[in-house]
Subunit: 307 residues, 4 copies
């Protein structure tokens, strides 16, 4: 089963393989009248672009986005917003004839679909996440009152940023890779966004973030620490988590995502020693997308006022 | 926004407040011809029933389930299966006039809906999870080849079961409560269930489990440990996680959920010192529900054979 | 595949067989704070009840509805509203051992599900529509500014009401049955409800109405007459149809549904000579349900103001 | 609210304005391993292309489709299939500054979105239907056992094809336009496709066809004639309609759609005197899309065998 859409009222659908002619996204459900241009989207894409530092993959992907629909004179019209990036540096020959790579989804794809595009990971490529970032850039316009900020909290278990550079150099030297923890805070989400049972804001955020390539764990608020605490100790902390019973409280929403180490060990010089570093903008985008959706959903049912 | 359904092809919708006349669930999308009776569902409900030990809430809830539709001569007919439990021990007077309780969803409900049923948590009550367990009992019939087993892995940060009894006694004595970690293993899910981008099996599991009351964190496979590891160290472990690129590999699927400590500190003698203990059957149910859905989805697209 | 839910934001799910213990509906997505009681729902159910005239089936079904959830002190809480009617006059013995009846869905069910509840049509029974009427009664509370009125326009091809009584007597005498055309007008739907491409208001109305048992045709505005007209002749009429490009214009919305004659010819004294007569309240209900959904959807995207 | 997707398991999302840079569609849920190339899609697009006769609009749109994703070595991979057509003959200046046109959706758009792309109808343009035809070409690969054929049955109320040419010439001479009735037959759909309550095959077909621009009425089987008949007279006919209780019987499925006359009277030389003529391939496409979806849904629930 293929399922390439996300969201309820503010929805997006991505398409494209990392080594096909292009990748793209269609954002549907965006309200009309919002100012949007390619430069706005490009700014967010550039944050996640590979080739901008020695700790991220050196492929040169300009990632130049085009907006193909949904705009008139610089404003959204309420119709679907299609965005596309052409793939210019594909080098699929690097991958030709490779057997399924351990730790990649290759074997799982074989099991599911019977055959598989062997070029560079296909849909499971991290490149697909560029389109989530593009969609997230549109989502931010829907929630201008919210700031969503993700940052690296740990690399290889190390929380002190001063140690990260040497850890990454060391990993690169050994053709090894490192996991990372990304922390994201959303401030400004109105009390009342969310739902109490099956569209809980925290459940939707968990799905959004767990669906990012390489993510293996998600925490809301205190997360696993709460699972190891006593009520008296953790109660004050829990009130600060930003979500209660699936519904935003109006306080900052905090979550953390665990990115596993890169799987492409030894495939050559083109891998990231720590994919989690590039994960931060994707986490931000997904959180923005979920919040935009819940803002519209809340408005649909209640007219949108917090009471 | 209210959203009380879960699933894509195998779907269920729950209804009912903990202190209204009844709670219920409608399971839709169940294939025809499966043997089902109330005793099968009741067996799973009894596992989560309060009042069966000193460490769980002493309310006496018979939780006697009735199946109201979808059966003919002991077999499912392919039509919706409605199940209902009447609420017999409601004691709503215990709650009347109480202000919003810290750590409960009460204030969030107020913000969302403007007013709120003050009796015992309404929809956010743990009681709603009984219906997920009932739905999960039906889901298990759809995936007879799969065994789903959840167990308590930690209580209050303690992994040694021999210490739990005294920890719980101590917490009860201090009117305190403890978090818990629940671990769940599903064996027998066929390689190929899942989807590579937005209906990833791990993302759906994360949403299902994070949507359980009191859950604050979810890990698939190595989880946060992978976020703190190096690739060389963790690669063998990752291959054993059971899901790769959103798709089941055919190996056992492992996940863990962090339950925060009970919030109802000091509300009287009726609280659980550790809600996580009752969480295990709910985690099992949600995992079974997600797997049943993905089995049907996989069959829909590919005919269902692993290739 | 079983699919027993309808709607996007304002959704409902029906369950129950005509000869099982009960039938019911869960309405999800209803805004909070609306005054609702069983009497309001019962009033609409009584309009479609059989046994209230010689031209409708003489079964005595009290159809006494109970509301089991979603209310607190007479107002909706924003949580799911479960309603149930117990089946008291089932007489399933009348049907036992009957072969599949021509013109009923029996043979189609056999093809789909392999076996079938032989008692009185199961889910395909007209009785299921009682729950749509109950859900529709809730939908009306969401759109108090709209009046939805359906009436019989033709019976057996005859548009003059003075002729209907004798036509029906004649059909009953011959154990024959007659088709009917039902016309429905909704006044007060705001300009802007609907969507331009795939959630067109007219497409959703068509699905809602075509999904009623025995309906074989749906017209919006001029309908088939427009298909036989010239533009100059029909343009003024089209502007009055109430929907343009999938979006409500603010003018009254008009539609017509064709109900085929009853299939149960000769099954005994219990059939309606013209099921279409009972169809009018069901058409009204479905139209109200679609409009309530679109009101919420429109508010979700735009804040709800017509501009 | 914007909603530009259609389908449950076999889904598609269209995007693009008639006078923007391109239009496109993303088809999601297509099974893997099906042979597909651009020529196959192009063949169906060419059937609906304007400029191929004097009775259809003389714009020269090459409608050259590109497939941008979802293929590997000529076969579908199970990932989303993105298709795009660049708009080369836009002439938006023809439309600049025009007031809302009566009979178009312009005024409704204004009411909904507050402002509107004034160039050529935007999303409501008949050009959007090209992408439904492209998606339909993919759908046909999913149901190779089914033939779907639509034809013009009436033009301006005239059922005799020999009269159509002169009627159209006359209308063109008077800058008038004519409605049409399109008839579609699908042969080969297996008994069992469909669902008995809210995903009825006939209800889904009604929504699909009523959602086509200019369609004002839909009939399944006998349609409105059944609404005017007696049971004895119509029973044999009803058995031949191909759908019973929402489920395919295995017999040919027959439906009819009423297209209203073109609204663009007097806008210049570029209008079709009868848009219904171009509607036939779109009806075919939508029917194929619904059937492909229901085939997958049926397989999902039951394994797909008719029993």
């Amino acid at each position: 089963m293929s399922w390439n859409s996300f969201g309820r009222l503010f929805r997006f659908t991505t398409w494209g393989e990392s080594h096909g002619p292009a990748i793209g996204v269609v954002v549907d459900g965006c309200p009309p009248g919002l100012a949007l241009d390619e430069a706005h989207v490009q700014r967010f894409l550039d944050q996640r672009r590979p080739g901008t530092g020695k700790n991220v993959s050196p492929r040169q992907e300009p990632d130049r986005v085009r907006i193909l629909s949904g705009l008139y004179e610089g404003r959204t019209t309420g119709t679907p917003i299609a965005m596309m990036i052409e793939n210019v540096d594909q080098r699929s020959k690097d991958y030709a004839g490779l057997p399924p790579r351990p730790g990649h989804a290759d074997a799982a794809y074989d099991a599911k679909y019977g055959f598989r595009d062997p070029r560079g990971g296909g849909r499971a490529s991290a490149r697909e996440t560029a389109m989530r970032v593009a969609a997230g850039a549109v989502a931010r316009l829907v929630i201008p009152e919210v700031t969503v900020t993700a940052r690296v909290a740990e690399i290889g278990g190390e929380a002190d940023p001063e140690r990260w550079e040497s850890l990454l150099d060391e990993a690169r030297g050994h053709q090894d890779s490192l996991g990372a923890i990304i922390e994201c805070v959303a401030e400004g989400a109105a009390a009342g966004w969310g739902a109490p049972v099956y569209a809980k804001l925290d459940a939707d955020l968990a799905a959004a973030v767990m669906g990012i390539n390489a993510v293996k764990g998600v925490e809301i608020g205190e997360g696993f620490a709460a699972g190891r605490a006593s009520g008296r100790a953790s109660l004050p902390l829990m009130q600060a988590s930003g979500i209660d019973g699936g519904i935003a409280t109006g306080h900052p929403i905090r979550l953390r995502a665990a990115f596993k180490p890169t799987s492409s060990i030894g495939i050559g010089g083109r891998h990231d020693p720590c994919v989690g570093i590039r994960g931060a903008p994707v986490v931000e985008a997904m959180v923005a997308l979920v919040l935009a959706d819940h803002k519209l959903l809340h408005r649909g049912q209640t007219g949108g006022e917090s009471r």
